[in-house]
């Protein structure tokens, strides 16, 4: 444990405060040049979905509209992730810089930080930073402005289109896609919405060039990433690591020598049992063979003292409450999965009922309206498939 086998990266939290200098250099470069750097870096969305950031900015810059917006998604609500809070505490100026550069490139004058309601304690500090940042922008002749929007505690509002609905004063419910935010986002205007960490990485890429970032990680999963490590580990915390690591190496480094499963990507992610640690890599789904699991950063380790039934029940209780309730597969599906495993455990339903629920989980993944609804069943299927006996006995 704590063997330090995996290289610790120090980019995000690196103590750099040369915002003026960096911004004035960036502002002298052309938009195309900047976008090419971003695309060249291979940076993908750090919220978990992994959409190429450079492409997102490019598409939005090409959308024709007088009004556009930049949104920083700081609705960090996935169980087991707590890295964005730390970024906003330690290096908010990097995030603000990312937003301002994005605004310049796409032609937006306004940026919002959608701050999770539970993070309201960060507001005074953030507002101070925003004021300082605005002063720098003013000096550089930019009228880009950033504002904080406080969320109200719904998990679903971390989903980008629900987040925008919520900002528009409506009920936080996912929209139909297409159209995507790059075309019709906040107030129906082209919008770039990025995770906090993604924007912070933009700082590194613009400051040091795309190569430094690209040299980290593996094919299709470039760069470093923050991981929120929790559960049965002696060294819980936030770590910046290279993408592409094998789960075995991760467990060797962070586990307590008794790790039986890792939940990768939070409650909406996948559970990997010990026997699959070696064949599983952490990164975006790519062309390489083998299992590659994406994550927004949440890594939960479970040792043999844990009941995977309880773990799953806990996740399902969370989703049963946090589904927005709009679409059938997610609203009713979550209830059926939860009540289903309880009924099997109590012996009221035969263990074969788990097969029916597994089929249901496939239907949920294929038919739910939003990314959340499509992923709520991931933990169910991966835990039931790998720890079936724990569900029954």
């Amino acid at each position: 444990m704590g063997k330090n086998m995996l290289k610790r990266i120090d980019l995000i939290f690196k103590n750099e405060h040369d915002t003026d200098e960096i911004l004035s250099k960036i502002f002298k470069r052309s938009n195309d040049d900047l976008i090419n750097d971003l695309i060249g870096s291979g940076l993908k969305g750090r919220g978990g979905a992994g959409f190429p950031t450079g492409l997102k900015w490019k598409l939005t810059s090409e959308a024709k509209d007088d009004e556009k917006y930049v949104i920083c998604n700081a609705d960090e609500g996935e169980p087991g992730t707590f890295k964005d809070r730390e970024i906003l505490t330690q290096v908010p100026h990097k995030v603000l810089t990312g937003m301002a550069v994005c605004g310049r490139i796409i032609g937006a004058k306004k940026g919002f930080i959608y701050l999770r309601g539970e993070y309201n304690f960060l507001k005074p500090h953030l507002n101070e930073e925003i004021d300082k940042f605005h002063a720098i922008l003013k000096k550089l002749g930019s009228d880009f402005r950033i504002e904080i929007f406080s969320g109200s505690g719904a998990y679903i509002c971390g989903e980008e289109s629900s987040l925008m609905e919520s900002m528009e004063g409506k009920r936080g419910e996912p929209r139909n896609k297409p159209p995507f935010p790059t075309e019709k986002g906040y107030l129906g205007k082209p919008t770039v919405i990025n995770n906090v960490e993604t924007l912070a990485h933009a700082w590194t890429i613009f400051k040091y060039g795309p190569k430094k970032f690209r040299d980290l990680g593996v094919q299709d999963s470039r760069g470093s990433k923050l991981f929120s490590v929790s559960g049965d580990t002696p060294i819980a915390g936030i770590y910046e690591l290279e993408l592409g690591m094998s789960l075995q190496d991760f467990v060797d480094d962070f586990g307590d020598d008794d790790c039986k499963a890792v939940q990768v990507g939070g409650a909406a992610g996948f559970c990997v049992p010990r026997k699959k640690f070696r064949e599983t890599a952490i990164g975006y789904q790519g062309k390489l063979t083998g299992i590659s699991l994406p994550t927004g950063g949440s890594m939960m380790l479970f040792n043999s003292s844990r009941s995977m039934y309880n773990v799953l029940k806990n996740y399902l209780e969370f989703f049963e409450e946090e589904s927005c309730g709009q679409c059938t597969p997610c609203r009713v599906g979550c209830q059926q999965l939860l009540e289903g495993i309880e009924a099997v455990k109590r012996g009221e339903k035969h263990q074969h009922y788990l097969n029916k629920l597994l089929r249901l989980s496939e239907t949920m993944k294929m038919t739910a309206k939003c990314g959340l609804g499509q992923s709520v069943a991931n933990s169910f299927s991966s835990i039931v498939e790998n720890f079936r006996e724990e569900m029954i006995y």
Partner: protein
């Protein structure tokens, strides 16, 4: 012309305009994709997921209603993947739905039931989530809301918000607690609900239904001491057929009268009679207001004058524009005029003690149930209208009585208060009251018929949400000199969202109208909340054509020529806006809170 996109659905090539959804493209090929949350009247929600289809090459299924086509797409609407997923979704919906169909008001006309039957969902493997802990709100005089039947498709919410801009229904809570609710979950009776019933005709299941009074009417008919009078609104005669296996737009006036007589009603009369009377009163009121405002400078009864026959609209107005109530015509609706006269004039004529009279009306409307319940609607000394049934409820009674509707002979309404004109018939369509009023008012002022071919004032007809028209008044009779050369500016709106738009413009003085007709329901009464389900624009159009056909076939087409109307003024009412009229045919309005 916009760009065409080529795709394949179930292997068949189809070319559609860019922006078309997969559902629409499939429709073009006559391939049916099942839907629940989708309704042609409403914006796309894409939340029930019943319409999912497979896009070849994609891991996910997509909602056909919400996904626009792309060049080269290959869609499968009936692959194994689709069928299994769709079946799962229907099963999920049934698991949270109180599927005790035999105890449901919509049994036999339910989209979820149809779908379950189509997919032969005979198993109930999933755990029953409709634990029976849901509440039923049946305190409203018009609408019953049963949450255990709700499938959360939000059609009602979209109807109430978009179509009607009322916002009485909205989504509350999340996850498993998510439900359709009202302001702080109060009873429908206590919130801004206008009782229009559009939610009822847009609900795919039995979650929102009309409050039924069928049994009370049967009781009254069976009571030998009671004389049961029935009146039928104009839109019923062009809607009823649809509930009794006839095509949309069938005109069934004679058969309906015949059926009502067989059901045992003692007097079968026509709301159209009081529709003609409404024109006499409201037309006179308009002319009176024009004179007061334009000549005498008296603005105590301001212009524009708005119609008041639609009780959903009236309540909406009371909630939304409480400082503009004096714009609304003081005329009661034809139903309530009829009720007041039935228990006075008519009772006297047929020598029945009004206390032994039961007054029933058949309406295309749920708000009429509420209207009859308004405390001020007791000018006869009793409740003027005792029970209001919708078109749908009448069809139920006809079926219960074992009447073969399509075989019935055509019969005529009883007299008196059974005669009407084409002007009254068109009350059932948006623009109809305006047209009827113009036919009469123009003639009163000029002594000539309105200058439109065959009296058809086509500019005020149609399904366009807001329509404007102006009529130039020339060569007037001596009494109306002040109107010489004037241009009467009229506006017609239907659906409360359109009504709101128009009235906000009036409020902000952006428009100068003299007369505004507003009907709460899209299409007017023909699309009322009490009409057959389904109702959509295609069906509204057919019902509308039937109404104008009925008008064109009448011998009398102007309200002031209705001999029974002439008679009632001579024998009973005196003159329009006279003392007796004022007592029985006019009413007042009250400021209502938004919350």
């Amino acid at each position: 012309m916009s760009k065409m996109v080529n795709l394949k659905i179930n292997g068949i090539d189809v070319s559609v305009e860019a922006g078309t959804t997969i559902l629409e493209a499939a429709e073009k090929l006559k391939i049916k994709i099942p839907v629940l949350c989708y309704h042609k009247d409403l914006c796309i929600a894409g939340n029930c997921r019943v319409c999912v289809v497979e896009v070849v090459g994609s891991r996910k299924l997509v909602a056909a209603c919400a996904t626009p086509v792309n060049e080269g797409l290959e869609i499968l609407t009936n692959s194994l993947l689709v069928r299994n997923a769709r079946k799962d979704i229907i099963e999920l919906l049934l698991s949270e739905h109180n599927a005790d169909c035999t105890k449901c008001y919509r049994n036999g006309n339910c989209e979820l039931q149809d779908l379950a039957a189509e997919y032969k969902i005979t198993n109930q493997d999933f755990i029953d989530l409709a634990h029976g802990t849901y509440t039923i709100d049946d305190l409203s005089p018009s609408i019953v809301k049963d949450d255990s039947r709700c499938i959360r498709c939000q059609r009602c919410v979209r109807t109430c918000t978009e179509l009607q801009s009322v916002g009485a229904l909205s989504v509350a809570h999340k996850g498993s607690e998510m439900k359709i609710s009202t302001f702080f979950d109060r009873n429908i009776r206590e919130v801004v609900c206008t009782n229009c019933g559009q939610c009822v005709i847009h609900c795919p299941t039995g979650a929102l239904v009309e409050k039924t009074y069928i049994e009370r009417v049967w009781d009254a008919i069976a009571d030998p001491t009671k004389h049961v009078v029935v009146q039928t609104a104009t839109a019923v005669r062009i809607g009823l057929g649809e509930e009794l296996e006839l095509d949309a737009g069938s005109r069934v006036t004679g058969k309906m009268v015949s059926a009502l007589k067989r059901l045992g009603f003692d007097s079968v009369l026509d709301t159209d009679f009081t529709a003609d009377l409404t024109i006499m009163e409201e037309g006179t009121e308009l002319l009176h207001r024009l004179k007061a405002n334009l000549v005498e400078g008296d603005t105590s009864e301001p212009l524009p004058l708005t119609t008041s026959c639609s009780p959903g609209w009236v309540k909406f107005f009371e909630h939304t524009f409480p400082d503009m109530l004096d714009h609304m015509s003081t005329c009661k609706s034809p139903q309530q005029m009829f009720g007041a006269l039935a228990k006075t004039y008519f009772a006297k004529k047929i020598e029945v003690d009004p206390e032994n009279m039961v007054s029933v009306s058949i309406m295309p409307c749920t708000a009429k149930k509420y209207e009859a319940d308004r405390p001020e609607m007791r000018d006869s000394g009793q409740k003027d209208v005792d029970y209001v049934l919708t078109t749908r409820e009448l069809a139920v009674m006809i079926k219960q009585a074992g009447i073969q509707f399509s075989d019935l002979p055509e019969e005529k309404y009883d007299s008196i208060m059974g005669q009407s004109t084409g002007a009254a018939v068109i009350f059932g369509a948006t623009g109809g009251v305006m047209e009827a009023a113009l036919r009469t008012a123009y003639e009163i002022v000029t002594g000539r018929e309105v200058p439109f071919e065959n009296l058809n004032i086509t500019p005020v007809r149609g399904l366009e949400g807001v329509r404007e028209a102006s009529v130039k008044i020339e060569n007037v009779l001596p009494d109306w000199k002040f109107l010489e050369g004037a241009e009467l500016k009229c506006c017609v709106a239907h659906g409360l969202a359109n009504a709101r738009k128009v009235m906000e413009k009036v409020q902000n003085k952006e428009v100068e109208y003299h007369f505004i007709e507003i009907m709460a329901c899209p299409g007017g009464c023909l699309g009322g909340g009490g009409q057959p389900i389904p109702t959509n624009d295609e069906i509204r159009k057919k019902r509308m054509d039937a109404i104008y056909e009925e008008d064109a076939n009448m011998t009398l087409r102007k309200s002031h020529e209705n001999p029974e109307v002439v008679q009632i003024y001579k024998e009973f009412l005196g003159e329009p806006l006279g003392k007796e009229s004022h007592k029985l045919l006019h009413t007042e309005y009250f400021e209502r809170q938004r919350y």
